[in-house]
Amino acid sequence: MKMKSAAFWISALALAVLPAQAQPPQILTLQEPQRVVVPRQGDVLAPLKLSMRPGYHANSDKPSEDYLIPLRLTWDAKAPVEAAEIVYPKAKMEKFEFTEKPISVLDGDFEIVTRLRRAPNAMPGPAFLAGKLRYQACNDKMCFPPKTLDVKVPLLIQ
């Protein structure tokens, strides 16, 4: 009986430890987007608020080196709104241990703002705008494979 109990507790502890093994850090966090009211005419801004984990950076939308993977937001083309423009945050030029010269990166808190307008055939009422945000992050010593975040913005179409 004692043996079985020991086996149970060792297994339980091991299982509790296992999820920690393969987890890279959460590097980029997206705040839940606020609902956007889309008027019948004219444009409206839909901001996405993002935070990089301290000590990490993502490449900007216009990396200064060809080999770097850019930050890229894409919206679903079948949405009831059209993305008239995507405005990425102003990047900073920063030098790292692994770069010969400063590179164009984003860190800390930043926003990506999309200018939306109602699609001609959109039905009034609640809806969603779905998209994907692709990014590639590093710190001073290591890089992480490119990741894609699913983005969903609640809309109210007028």
Binding site: A14, A20, Q21, A22, F96, K141, M142, P146
Partner: protein
Amino acid sequence: MHRFSPLLGLAVLASWLLAAGCASQLSRGEPSSRRGGDASARKPAPDFELKDMNGKTIRLSDYRGQVVLLNFWATWCGPCKIEIPWFVEFQRTYKDRGFTVIGVSVDEDGWEAVRPFLASRQVNYPVVISTMEVEQKYGGVEALPVSFLIDREGRIAGTHVGLVTKKTYEDEIRGLLD
């Protein structure tokens, strides 16, 4: 029927906790290095078979008898680009003593991205394109660069996650060659 051995259970738990400790370093984004310990305690490096740029099969087990630096990298990884010239130099310096680097690229675009890179850096060691299966065999490649130093018996003598110094690699290579 096998009876549960508390000693065996504790040994398994200890190794899990050690692995979790290394993983927590990764979760903090810190480089980590792990030694394989005494030769008798080292684990075998998982074998794989992948093609190089010219279609030649590169099988890790074919390098048994040599010291191998197995380096997972990508063209978009800045720290990897720092290490690659070191590896080119190590290949040149230690090849005749039974040493080789094998580069394993994790680039999603495969040879389209890797081929021009190799040409521009004059890489003088075998390079292959990774697969999920190979990455899983090596514990999942969650951050780059990741390098495994493999002894002449095909066992993992050391692991480095993240950028470490050239001297660290060179000291370890020399230690395994001597």
